[in-house]
Amino acid sequence: MEPKLFAAIPVIILLPAIGALLAGLLGKRWGDRFAAVVANLAVFSSFGVSLYAWWFLSNDAAGMVYLYKVYPFLKSDLLDIGLDFRFDRLSAVMSLVVTGVSSLIHLYSMAYMKGDRSHARFFSHLNMFVFFMLLLVLGANLVVMFAGWEGVGLSSYLLIGFWYEDMEKAIAGKKAFIVNRIGDFGFLLGMLMLLMYNQGSVDFFALERFANSGVPPVANELNMTVICLLLFLGAAGKSAQLPLYVWLPDAMAGPTPVSALIHAATMVTAGVYMVARLSFLYVHAPIAMAVVAGVGAVTALFAATIGLAQTDIKKVLAYSTVSQLGYMFLAVGSGAFAAGIFHLTTHAFFKACLFLGAGSVIHALHHQQDIRRMGGLARKMPVTHWTFLISTLAIAGIPPLSGFFSKDEILTAAFLASTPFPMVYKVFWACGVVGAFLTAFYMMRLYWLTFRGEPRDHHAFEHAHESPWNMGTALVLLAGAATVAGALGLPGEGHLFSRWLAPVVGKYTLEPQHASHLTHWGLIGLSVLVAVAGLSAGLLVYRSGPEGVSARIARAFGPLYRLVAGKYFVDELYALIVVRPLKAVATFSYKVVDKVFIDLLGVNLPAWTVKGIGVLPRMFHDGNLRSYLLAVVVGVLCLWVVL
């Protein structure tokens, strides 16, 4: 039986790579249709094979891990790094989510990108992204993971700047890459430290053994903390957490399917996956865990407040994504690794659905993205409307939709976290609860301003139409998944999801503190209450459209509102303290150090001095016979006088 699974792993990864090459190299010659069909086939087949592999694994004994070693990549007397793949229960979940959501988004893109000049390039890049993402989640060591990690960053860069003729979009792509590189700096350092301490291997098995070995000079808590924090810097870059989240809102410059796939459902969750994958390291570093949870909680709250005041439909969703990723980090930072991956999964469904819904609206309104110019679309676009509503309720945390189960589980885990710092985690929990209220609020605002009330731009409204079947299919399937996925995560023994992941992360999951039934039910009740309160408050404020109650509130809190609407001016702050100093130092290095100190004073000045000294003797060597004769005569006279 086993060889079948071994054959499946490379097939899963290679199909999208082949698709990318075919679409990229032949798409221009053989037409858009060819590129789109090839790309779709590649991803759907990859999903099919992933399903097969998952089915195979689920029939196997729990905890089996399949390693596929392709060839040794780097070898020296110390290094032993292979191009190795690993299929276990965590990679199975990730590859299902990645290929599943990708398939639907590829289908959706066939209609959404119709008529674009660079159809083939789009599908080629999209397939390339899936390839690198699979490399990331199936890699059996940190180096393969890093290769996927950088590869998805590259795809993201290319797809954000897909419409490169628009300078702002090109700049957004570059910003994403550079901010991610700051994170990668941490990833690289953490990986190098692990390589040194762990005898040149960063294979996940070897790392797990290393972490559990507790060899005092190397595997001690200090080293673990430093390594985990460095790796988390990488995660914070890729998963858009404070202080490196600034690239994600700008990344909305990319086509909407890209935002849905890369910047909501899959790539940005890579950081969460990394922490869960390395759970065996993080449990040995409680301080690093607290930092992860803290950054997650604060980001969840911080981004939710920005989401309150955005007027671009995609920007609201972007900040929402940053916020939801914060919840995932709160989960893994609280030691509830399965809960983090569960929220990652449900979020992939409802957020992809929300983005695709937003894309459907933008498509219908001919690239109108300002929610103040929308309204009343529910009548015109029933499919988009209903799926969007379902996903809104899911993300807000209304039972029995999936978001309720995953988010509630995270908040419970944070509240009851077994950690040396329980009070600090209570604060994180409070951030999470307030964030949950705000999430419900801004989602209701978004929903209402887009789909309900009176149309505020009649011209656009008249032309609005429901999107074609392939877009609708993707929306319905995703909304369906967002609805039922919660069943995988019923609290208690019925939690299929954490049982599935138990062989991988189970033994590192921190057992929550014991709490009474009352506490558990109280926390669940609070989650529901907060969600309902947030939705109601949003409804109350925005029922009268953007100019009613909401405008009065905005005026009442003038400076505060401007601060939030201005996104706390973080971009401006970074420009002031990072970008401009860097440019100034660069210019100084070139214009002053290089040009003046080294080249002028160090090189040209000595050269001129030598030349200058040469002037005097050169006067005597002017080649004029009469002056030579004069010199001879003068010399002879001098000699005669002296003698």
Binding site: L78, F146, E150, F185, N212, L582, A586, I598, A607
Partner: protein, 570 residues
């Protein structure tokens, strides 16, 4: 004596010289064709080196040794893992560089071809020479054709640039010549043989053993010559001028091969001849390398001229090469060698790309471009791929090189534990340098992607750019092999590293302990004793904890077998 393949690879280009010069002036096309053919044949012959090379043998292979002038000066050439890849890089890049500027050289076609052929012989000879006299002849021979290439076929300020290039290089070479002569008499005055010199100068109690002062002075003389070529900060200012003024072919050869003469010189001569001096001076040299990494990147960021940007990026990349070499670990040295090749490929390709644009627009200012992805999609794809390789994206050659170098530096820097009690120790210094060097990955992305964005993306702002044509067949043929190697090295570095491994391991095994020993004498012997005691105790603790610690000779690496790790993983 087998077939003299090394001499053939070295002198084939020069042998073509009379043929080229005999062709009448009115047939420039024939000259070009013939020159290219000679270069291609040389490359094919050099493939014999790759396939005939025994990767398990650490020492010199395919050695040819003939008495040349008198008895002491020999014509002796040989190849080992340190030089093999560089020779192949040279024979590979030469035809590419020539074909890359096929149409842009219109005048004095004969002389240009002649200069290139002589240059190629000199470059290959420098890498292969195993006799210091022979080495010096080739070393100086390189200068003349390069002087002409920049000075005759260069841009507007070519005279200033070429003079600067020659004076810088001469300043270093003269002192090296003095040092070589000194060493000759010191060695007994009857040989210039490389391996003999190594054993004489570094052997214990041999007649010619150098005193510490002699070592330091000679090392400085060699190091100056090599550091100028690398170029090491702050000796780099000839480089941007030379690059900007040189024709495309010159830039490709200059960046691709000539700069490596410096790093190769350190590796081949400066460290093995004077290990004690290297121990003393490697800290400042590594410091300057890291300054170069950061400084080169910053200055590159401030450029308006693409060619200058690429030139300064070379300063940054070569800093990595130097850093890895002086870490003196197997990963550091092999990464350093591979990164020399990588830099030759990536930067060579970047200069080719800049040349393609220059031929079309006759400008290299970034502000003159913008949005050309629209009109030149193939070129843009190529340019982005090459830029990514320069940034060091996994899957390209740049990542493998940088990763190996950083691994090597961290291996030297971390050892087994960070030493909080002894902040200024050698290891901590290396560790800090390694961390600063790692930040180069951020800065590299900043300047390269800013350049890509300014030139390729955005709307077309200059009307002339609307009518730009995409790469033609010749240009694609030129750039494709380079791209192929960028990806092949990135995915299967073993194909190349396997060839260097034996020599590198032998090299590190010989010189690393020697230098560590010298360094301890020179700097902090007491601190290291304390440190070793601490580690010894920790190892003992580890042993009691159930783990089995092995490989304790260097007290650096803990190997704890899985079955004894006490972990709870099944």
């Amino acid at each position: 004596m087998d077939f003299p393949v090394l001499s053939l690879v070295t002198f084939l280009p020069m042998a073509g010289l009379p043929l080229v010069l005999l062709i009448p002036r009115r047939l420039p096309g024939t000259v070009k064709g013939l020159t290219l053919a000679i270069m291609l044949v040389t490359f094919l012959v050099s493939l014999k080196l790759y396939f005939g090379f025994d990767p398990d043998q650490a020492g010199m292979q395919l050695v040819e040794d003939h008495a040349w002038i008198g008895t002491s000066i020999h014509y002796k050439v040989g190849v080992d893992g340190l030089s093999l890849l560089l020779v192949l890089l040279t024979t590979f890049l030469a035809p590419i560089a020539y074909l890359g500027a096929w149409t842009s050289i219109q005048e004095k076609v004969h002389e240009f071809a002649a200069s290139l052929l002589v240059l190629q012989t000199a470059m290959v000879g420098t890498f292969l020479a195993m006799d210091l006299f022979l080495f010096y002849v080739f070393w100086e021979l390189m200068l003349i054709p390069m002087y002409l290439i920049i000075g005759v076929w260069g841009g507007e300020r070519r005279i200033y640039a070429t003079l600067k290039f020659v004076l810088f290089t001469m300043a270093g070479s003269i002192l090296m010549l003095v040092a070589i002569l000194f060493l000759y008499f010191k060695s007994g005055g009857d040989t210039f043989d490389y391996s003999v010199w190594v054993s004489i100068f570094t052997g214990e109690g041999t007649v010619g053993q150098l005193s510490k002062l002699e070592q330091v002075l000679c090392f400085l003389a060699f190091a100056l010559a090599f550091a100028i070529k690398v170029p090491l900060f702050p000796l780099h200012t000839w480089l941007p001028d030379a690059h900007v003024e040189a024709p495309t072919t010159g830039s490709v050869i200059l960046a691709g091969v000539l700069l490596k003469m410096g790093t190769y010189g350190f590796l081949r001569f400066a460290i093995p001849f004077f290990p004690d001096a290297a121990a003393l001076l490697s800290a400042p040299l590594m410091g300057l390398s890291v300054v170069g990494i950061v400084y080169g990147a910053l200055v590159a960021f401030a450029q308006e001229d693409v060619k200058k940007l690429v030139a300064y990026s070379s300063v940054s990349h070569l800093g990595f090469v130097m850093l890895g070499m002086f870490a003196l670990t197997p990963e550091g040295v092999s990464g350093s060698i591979l990164q020399m090749v990588n830099h030759g490929l990536s930067t060579g390709a970047l200069f080719l790309c800049v040349g393609f644009l220059y031929e079309r627009r006759h400008t290299r200012l970034m502000e003159q471009f913008g949005g050309i992805a629209r009109v030149m999609p193939v070129f843009t794809a190529v340019f982005v791929l090459v830029s990514l390789s320069s940034i060091g994206l996994p899957g390209t050659n740049g990542f493998v090189g940088e990763f190996l170098i950083l691994t090597g530096v961290f291996r030297e820097g971390i050892g087994s534990v960070i030493e909080p009690g002894n902040l200024l120790s050698w290891r901590n210094l290396v560790l800090v340098l390694g961390i600063v060097a790692t930040s180069g990955v951020i800065l590299g992305a900043v300047y390269m992607l800013t350049m890509v964005r300014r030139m390729m993306f955005g709307p077309i702002t200059v009307e002339k750019n609307r009518s730009l044509t995409d790469l033609n067949l010749r240009e694609v043929v030129v750039i494709l092999p380079v791209l192929a190697f960028i990806v092949i090295i990135g995915i299967a570095p073993g194909l190349f590293l396997d060839k260097t491994r034996a020599s590198v391991d032998e090299y590190v095994r010989t010189w690393q302990p020697r230098i560590m020993q010298a360094r301890n004498e020179a700097t902090a012997r007491r601190n290291d004793e304390v440190r070793e005691q601490i580690i010894r105790m920790q190892v003992l603790n580890a042993l009691q904890g159930g783990g089995q610690a092995t490989n304790l000779e260097g007290l650096k690496w803990y190997v704890v077998p899985p079955e004894e790790q006490g972990g709870n993983h099944e």
